[in-house]
Symmetry: D3
Subunit: 191 residues, 6 copies
């Protein structure tokens, strides 16, 4: 007896044609570029106002490359989403990380055991702070911040590490709330 | 030797006059209404694009009262922010909760021990799910969701509980990242 | 439908007139001084012999001010009772701490996130050791004790920090056992 | 090179002849009965007022046998002291438990894995509640208490289980604070 | 500056020609079948007697298919090795699981969040017990075992689930001890 | 009503005469030497192939005394088996440790609180690494290994500590799986 795959979301998923025009256009642009619609767009479109705020926040943090490189940003996402048991983000951002880092191994390494990943010293510092922020942000002290500066990170990079971890703390919970299913395409991408 | 109080944020805080006009106007409107500027506005204004996305997301979830009442929304914030050791959110939203719920005791109860708070059965269900979402969202099952429905919550209310918890998982980490200081005004408000 | 507040204790609460004379006199003296009877006296009076031992132990540790000041003693109580999710002790001793420290903010800060509280270096050392004693007392080493001495604490102060934490580890469990309700008067006191 | 055994306490241990008369007499009575002075008496005698309150509380809970038998009381002590990593209480009360229960195996079983101990259903209920009280007392609900009643425990027995657990939560921390060493005599007693 | 990949093991790795003949022949047979030598053979060959016992134990549990299928056995390995943060076993056995289950998605799903994996009811029962065994084996009761039987598992299957979890609790720690590096070939296999 | 003691194992225990000859002879040799058959032999004989691999692995690690002494090997077993709540291994290997170390106190000390055990600096280093390996092997770094070398341990000793911990991580889970009962003889041995 075949196991029926779970749906995109355990909440209602709107049809493209029923969506507000700005959201529909945004999704169609992604579809054209990627060849498919990542399920996060469909699952969150259930709530247009939250959708718009979510992607505005996402793009403000992930679509820039001053300071942290795009690969470094995705490393933070994969390592912290694994801590939060978020299947969608580990699989989808794992694919993006493989592309951005031009490294087919790094996503699985970071998701399984960040201490065993092939990281430079700078990357280790970045991922280490992200892991502190994900579960123990309340005890981050000024001394911790100073150590990051001493390790060569700028204040803008430190903010970005913390803010990306914070954003995906939200994103991971939304994916877990909706039981958001990663598209099958992501699993084998860029391996 | 007096202890010097920590600053609003451990990152730079912009001057009002240096802010983009939309942000400045938004802050001035809050100031006029509240009599003071809650520090979250000043701390996050350091990053205008993130500021705009943050408050768009916040208002989409917190400024409505269909389904969950405004007091119920604030209960979720206080109970989950306490789990995340977020001083800013416990103190500031504790004050808002006392106002919304017209109950001077409820915020301290929820922040200290939600199982001892004076809650109705419905409120207990809401807070219970928020506490599951805050730390164990990865193991929320369809059966858990069905139990909430059986307890009388609508799917829209269930989404809201999860999405508010998710939003403040981000917010708590941003407050902890910046070491955001709650304004002294919040502590004694509505007691 | 109003939510009925929980009782003083989930175990029987004796009437004042039924109590042994020494206990009744002690309670009446407190009532005269405070203007009300803190519920801990009523809840524990259910067991007179335990009541007497409890308050003898309490007064031996909390009613002195050589070494640790009375405010410092209450800081230990509030910070560790928050770890133990003890509503009664956080609320009641939070009020006493605000009075002793002449600081309306410190109790909420310590209960929510001790790392963000406005503490002097000495207070930070005291609260830090209390937090180690509350959950990891088994791994306190001679080196840990020496560090406290190096930080300026005397051996009598170190004993007091540990013994107060130990006493409230008992007290918190008794309050949780009985579901002891803090008197409403404590919440707004000295804010 | 022989390893020097640690002292009775890491704090000063008074000489018998320097102690207040009531404490000295109490200790001499124990010595006469047991053949040696259990180190807890020597370590706590450093603080006479706390000593008196401690043993008054101890005797109020441990020296009676209405409701819970003396063996059942010691079972609670051994199982919860193991959770708190308290060497003194596991070894000393393990010896007392072997004597009270006339069972040479039960103390090691309870200290290592209470789920594998040779317990009756009643004993399992008692130890199970003690283990809930030791680490999660804040979430004990009225439903939990009702289940204990349904299992055949009286309210007085329920109080005793909780109060003994609470008392040894204090005692374990005092033993860990002082690095209290169990007398060698206890290890082989009643095996 | 390129990051140098870590070695096969942080302990010495013997040359094939220096190995005892039985071990060399075993490794060459694997190499012929797989096209490469999985690093676990090289890392453990440092200790021939332990090597022989390890693979005898491994084959006794993993090279049979009565009761649990080979795919089900690998599911246990991947899910529990993820809990133990074992990069080698998640990557290498993830590849084997994809082959055995003829399912390119299942390994990543199980490693990231077993509750979101596409599993049948039987597989969910198997993986659920493995996850209980990995971290809480001490509290597995006869009632837990009976529930597995009621769910349709035979006693031989229950032993196998427990024994495979136990074997990889060892294996994961050996891989982490040696910092055993998974061969690059495993990552993309059978996707 | 007497409590019936649990059986040797919750899985079938074969009769000696039904066992393969090599296993029967091995068990009879142990019986002759010890005066009784330790239950681990009977419980694991249910699965002859796994039995042979288990004892081959056990003997490869425990029956040698180059590098780590036999007493040191047993210290690792007792301290880590206590973490895994394994009654069989704590009791049986506790007895062996008392014999090997000629110390009647050390097993109970290590099982209850390793930080309070009478250990030399070398033993403390050994037990400390075993405790790191038992629960956090995934985050053991090259720096951790170097510290052990700096403390005077050879690479072969470091492997042995890790491999013994790994072997008993398996053994503890097998004992918990089968609810393996320690023979009564072990409890009082060598006290």
């Amino acid at each position: 007896m075949p196991v029926e795959p779970p749906a995109v979301s355990r909440f209602p998923v709107p049809k493209l044609e029923d969506l507000p025009e700005d959201i529909r256009e945004m999704i169609e642009a992604v579809q054209e570029k990627s060849g498919f619609i990542p399920n996060v767009f469909l699952a969150l479109a259930h709530r247009p106002a939250e959708f718009r705020a979510f992607f505005a926040g996402h793009d403000a943090l992930m679509d820039k490359s001053e300071g942290l490189s795009k690969a470094e940003r995705e490393m933070i996402v994969v390592a912290t989403s694994a801590v939060n048991d978020c299947l969608y983000c580990v699989i989808a951002h794992g694919a993006i990380l493989r592309i951005r880092a031009k490294n087919p191994l790094i996503a699985d390494q970071l998701a399984t055991n960040p201490w065993k990943a092939d990281l430079s010293d700078r990357e280790r510092l970045i991922v280490g702070f992200a892991l502190q922020m994900v579960d123990e942000s309340g005890s981050v002290t000024d001394e911790d911040i100073q150590e990051l500066r001493d390790g060569g990170l700028t204040d803008d990079e430190i903010w970005d590490i913390g803010a990306i971890t914070a954003f995906f703390a939200m994103s991971n919970r939304l994916a877990n709330l909706t039981s958001m299913r990663p598209n099958d395409e992501f699993y084998a991408m860029a391996r």
